[in-house]
Amino acid sequence: MARKTPAGGARRAEMLSLLAPTSAWLVVFTVIPILMFVVYSFWTVRNQMIFRELSVSNYVRFFTNPMYPALLLRSLIIAFGVTVTTLVFSYPLALKISRSRGRLKSVLYMLIFIPLMTSYIVRIYTMRLVLGSNGVLNNFLLFLGVIQEPLQILLFNRFAIFLTLCVILSPFMVMPIYTSLERIPRSYIEAAQDLGSTELQIFWRVIFPNARPGLIAGCMFIFVLSLGDFMTPILVGGKQGTTLSKVIQVNFGFAYDWPLGAALSVVLLSISMVVILVSNLFGALREV
């Protein structure tokens, strides 16, 4: 029956002495920037100058210029594809780690943890190395005689983005699923076994449903991260592989249309927030 002792009197002062500075920091460096971001998306650029009058022209541009929705769609498709593919490959790995014991388990866990802690950029680079026309994979296939000429399709296109993202982001899927799996009490599985279920039944009826929050969390991560990633398209996407996030980045770079970039970001941000909130409904944030 332990409750938080309610604030009152001198306690209120104590609480405020912690709440005030931390809230100040949060407001200044998180809330205000995000709000500014949204406000910015309603401004426009004319003659290289930021015009600070509210207008929805950026959003109008987004909807009228067919390029932007197409880019958005492309980004969404890639994000979706990456999510599904990583799921298919990550789930079994999470299962395997969860089922292992002792030494093997620690080793496998570390093997998944290390990529999470390794520089993002480094890992994109490794994929570029492998996929290039001069790259290892091509040379390997040439060597085997499977192909006569280097495959061009591996790099600098949407497929490369897709493949790279799958490999880079999979630890983000394995981790939450693994955490979820670990939380399932052994007694559930043992009870099911005791009652005569087969392995497949146990998986479908006991394990899978109970690991669902982790699965949702993983999908949420992957989807949102794929949408927002621009480094991968820049490094391995080539001319063909442009995504919305890349365009956003460009707008903040040499294209210098910050309001447009902000507007496009708001679109992506909204979609990401929707995904996060929906996932939260399914309990994803508990597994984060």
Partner: protein, 272 residues
Amino acid sequence: MIAKRTVLERIGHLFGRLYSPGFGYLLLAVTYVPMLLVIVFSFNQSIIAAFPLESFSLRWYQDLLADRSILVAFRNTILISLGAVAGSLLIGVSASYLMHRYNFRGAKLYQLVILLPFLLPGIFTGLALLLFFAMTGIPKSLFTVFIGHVVFCTAVVFKTVMARLMVLRRSLEEASYDLGANTFQTFFRVILPNMRTALITGSLLAFVLSFDETLITFFVIGAQMTLPLKIWGMMRAQFTPVVHALASVIFLTSTVFVIAFSRFILGREPAR
């Protein structure tokens, strides 16, 4: 008579035996092989990153150490990461203690705002901060990178510490108050010492995440360089195999870090 396994059951069993480990190891292989190749090539004499290998050589590592800009970038990254850890510990621990001890309106919102920079991809946090700094006239520099990293890492420290606080026995705090201590004394004598593991874990995580942080840094950095951005620059510019050496060093550092970290965590008994 005990029933024999049906065909369906056999398939299910095989499925479990093959699919699970099979795809699992495949994923691991695909994740690690490229990295291992980079390491191999970093020791390769030739400029061309392809098989067959030429002779073993350390020249790329030597070039790496000779490149001053890389060393400066490395120093910058370390400084920022240490600062980010300090800053996020300060804010993260304060915020989680606040939420743990007091009931206040808007607690849910408070928590969401703390976690948001971590949940959203770096591009959003980075852009938002970029706009903020531009509008308030704060020049982009290592300092702005430091702020960006603190915003990002606070979420990690917050979650780690919060998780520990939630399982900390309430009676310990109550006993402290009962014996005459005030909130301040209770925090420093009872709570802080008993969440040592969480603090260390949080700090280490924050450090590594800050060290490798690329997206937010990309937007808010000034003329200087951090290590990840240096690699980015090297990747866009003329190709040189020094990149391989650098990438290998970073990867191996992370690996050693994780191993040491896991040993530490696994070797400790959590205090009740």
